[in-house]
């Protein structure tokens, strides 16, 4: 397998070392009842008609000036974007992945789209009703319900934040929860200090692209010792045709604070592939804890894989102080290609990182996902639970790096990596990489592969449970350990999503 060597001093690059073994498991099951595929259309495949302010297609320095001017940004941010653009130009596209990367024409993408109407609303009545209807259709009540449920919603429609609720309550505790653009204006000192501090603008080609053209995203700051009283949540949605999405999220948990952040997405049906290259940066200072949960349900493409989203996102957190904790939980069901490795840099002594993942691929979907845990401080701990589910011709790869530095005395890692196969044409692949420079480290890796067998389905059928429900029962049971990590409300949604996603994947 092609592996880019890790250059000294550049350990955080988008690459995996050549050390470590990998295992390839191909499904080989002749059960043909498991072969058939449903014509079930993507549930959320509709397009909202809202006037857009769209940048001309193409990418050059003018595009970046256009975006920066539109957003009335300060000079330092424009300079940063331009530097990122330069490093984007220098970077090759990655080549180590376990799938054929479609050629992406970066000049054929429009890099900015914003709703033309007023960007700020005092209350919901001012928001474009069609926009609200869209959210309703997605089952995201941006209304009293959510507020009563204790969720503050920063809704990102295409690229610009249009509605923010609950801000006042948060403000009382000194919590900042706003769009990045707003934070650039109101808290430039925080942005200048932390933007790009975890994922540098030169990190990888997609991160560089994001830094150059990012449109908007969320910003969170939790002050010292504050426990954020509610789940913070952002719903992303790709809407405009051929509009690349370059969201950027920055979350800072100051000493001794706690925050749980939810990110969920769905996208309307589109014919041309849309690329999404988001960047998420998390900073947890001493004794702080950040829990970041994602449910990703972007359009996966039709049965032939046409029209799906390419999701190339860079997510990374750093435990900067002692006893800090960062936990990633993800449920990935959408996108034609998902390519992401939420990582944790365990810099502070006794800090800990967790990664809980369920990734589903069906039809022609590809998921290459996993995590990277960099143990730098002493006594650092990491835990990785990955559950891959493949159906149809879906290809699912777990790729994980556990790296233990020479000063990471008594570092511990536990990795459990399970694959579930539905049918005989899908594949599950596991690429665990372990690089340890400290003999006192304990690294454990467990892996299993199982199949939903015809006989399991028949057993459940014989008890009066139809095949759809049988698959849902088995899959939800299999993913339980990860789903349990999600906040209650989200867990229920995720469970439903898994069932809907796999509907019709067993004949």
């Amino acid at each position: 397998m092609p592996a880019e060597p890790v250059a000294a001093g550049k350990v955080f690059r988008y690459s995996f070392g050549s050390l470590g073994q990998y295992i390839i498991i191909m499904a080989n099951n002749s059960a043909d009842i498991l072969e058939e595929y449903s014509d079930k259309e993507y549930e959320f495949g509709f397009v909202t008609d809202i006037e857009m302010d769209i940048a001309p297609r193409g990418l050059n320095e003018d595009t970046i000036h256009f975006i920066s001017t539109k957003k009335k940004e300060p000079q330092w941010l424009l300079d940063w974007r331009l530097k990122a653009y330069q490093s984007f130009l220098k970077q090759p596209e990655p080549h180590w992945q376990n799938f054929e990367l479609p050629k992406i024409d970066f000049q054929d993408i429009s890099y900015y789209a914003a709703p033309k109407s007023r960007a700020k609303y005092k209350d919901m009545n001012e928001v474009d009703p069609e926009l609200i209807a869209t959210f309703e259709k997605l089952g995201i009540p941006l209304s009293e319900q959510k507020i009563l449920a204790g969720v503050a919603v920063d809704a990102v429609f295409d690229s610009v934040s249009v509605a923010t609720t609950f801000k006042e309550t948060l403000k009382e505790q000194g919590i900042i929860f706003s769009s990045i653009s707003e934070a650039v204006k109101e808290h430039p000192e925080l942005i200048q200090k932390y933007l790009g501090s975890v994922v540098p603008h030169s990190d990888n080609i997609y991160a560089a692209l994001n830094a150059a053209v990012f449109s908007d995203g969320s910003f969170v700051y939790i002050p010292k010792g504050v426990r954020c009283p509610m789940e913070l949540s952002t719903y992303f949605r790709i809407n405009s045709e051929n509009t690349g999405q370059f969201e950027r999220t920055l979350i800072i948990a100051d000493e001794g604070s706690y925050v749980s952040y939810l990110e969920g997405c769905t996208a309307p049906k589109r014919d041309e592939n849309q690329m999404h290259a988001a960047v998420v940066e998390l900073v947890a200072l001493e004794n702080a804890e950040i829990k970041y949960s994602t449910v990703q349900n972007w359009y996966p493409g039709d049965k032939e894989g046409k029209g799906g989203i390419y999701n190339f996102v860079t997510k990374r957190g750093v435990c900067r102080g002692a006893h800090a904790k960062i936990s990633w939980t993800q449920v990935e069901t959408g996108s034609a290609i998902t390519w992401k490795y939420p990582s944790v840099i365990l810099q502070g002594d006794y800090s800990s990182g967790e990664f809980y993942s369920v990734a589903v691929t069906k039809n022609k979907q590809i998921a290459d996902t996993g995590t990277k845990m960099y143990h730098i401080g002493k006594g650092t701990k990491s835990r990785i639970i990955s559950k891959g589910i493949s159906a149809g011709e879906g290809q699912n790869s777990y790729r994980g790096l556990v790296q233990v530095g020479s000063k990471a005395e008594n570092a511990r890692n536990f990795t459990q990596c399970d694959s579930l196969l539905i049918g005989d044409r899908c594949g599950a692949h596991t690429f665990p990489y372990i690089e340890s420079k400290n003999k006192s480290a304990t690294i454990e890796h467990e892996a299993t592969t199982s199949k939903i067998g015809e006989d399991q389905i028949f057993y459940l059928n014989q008890r009066g449970i139809d095949t759809e429900k049988a698959v849902a029962l088995i899959v939800n049971g299999y993913a339980k350990e990860v789903l349990n990590q999600l906040p209650m409300e989200f867990a229920v949604e995720a469970q439903k999503l898994l069932s809907i996603t796999l509907e019709g994947s067993v004949g």
Binding site: F458, L460, N461, Q462, G464, D466, L473, I474, N476, G477
Partner: protein
């Protein structure tokens, strides 16, 4: 209740059932015996609708309805239950969650509302007692890591919970110790009524001492070659199967 006429079925181009005739009425217990590979489990598979078996002739009426027209889940919902010879393990799915889903699916089919949690738990406790099924096992993953005997007992526990009209017990006795055999048999006997019926597949006369059958049939090479009263089982135990060679054309009772 169940009327099988000249049932023929094949699997992978191999003719397994070569014309089965059997009539089971409500309130009856039928035992089916016969050498290994004679087609006993295959008969159960065909009746419950296993996909890899192809019916090549004959008919099956279940309460007057054409059973073979139903999907496997609808056969179950119509009241047909199979206690498997080899119960399958399903990791991650808790026994209790599975049972609740099954029960409510069957209820929905009959336009009944789902059982409330409290009522469901009460029922679970009651039936657990009936087959002396360990409470700890109900919370574990379905059959995962269960001993052979525990799996068999779980089948009967499920039977008790789902309360089917016709139950087929495929070698439920094999793998059970003597105490378990007695407990399971007692459970089945308590579940027997004028409204339901049982087909008990077994190799051993011992089980039939506990669950006393009304009829005993011998399945040989895909046909029922002999039928009789419970004494036939004793005779088989003594003499083996060699003396039964010629197939009989009708075994309906």
């Amino acid at each position: 209740m169940l009327s099988i006429k000249n049932l023929q079925a094949k699997v992978e181009d191999k003719q397994i059932l070569k014309g089965i005739n059997l009539q089971v009425n409500a309130g009856e217990v039928h035992a089916i015996m016969g050498p290994n590979g004679s087609g006993k489990s295959s008969l159960a598979s065909v009746l419950t609708g296993r996909e890899n078996f192809e019916v090549t002739g004959g008919e099956v009426l279940f309460d007057g309805k054409d059973l073979l027209e139903f999907s496997p889940e609808n056969r179950a919902r119509e009241g047909l239950f199979l206690a498997f010879q080899y119960p399958i393990e399903i990791p991650g799915v808790s026994n209790i969650n599975f049972l609740r889903t099954a029960l409510n699916e069957i209820r929905a089919y009959h336009n009944e509302p789902p059982l409330e949690a409290k009522e469901f738990l009460r029922l679970t406790r009651e039936k657990q007692k009936l087959v002396e099924f360990d409470a700890k096992l109900t919370n574990r993953s379905l059959n995962e890591g269960f001993s052979g005997g525990e799996k068999k007992r779980n089948e009967i526990f499920q039977l008790a919970m789902l309360n089917p009209k016709l139950s087929i017990l495929d070698e439920t006795d094999s793998g059970l110790d003597i105490d378990a055999l007695r407990i399971v048999s007692n459970g089945v006997n308590k579940l027997r009524s004028e409204k339901n019926a049982f087909i008990v597949i077994t190799h051993y006369q011992r089980l039939l001492e506990y669950i006393v059958p009304d009829f005993v049939h011998v399945l040989y090479d895909g046909r029922i070659v002999k039928s009789g009263a419970k004494e036939l089982a004793l005779e088989l135990e003594e003499k083996g199967y060699d003396w039964i060679k010629e197939p009989v054309t009708t075994a309906s009772v």
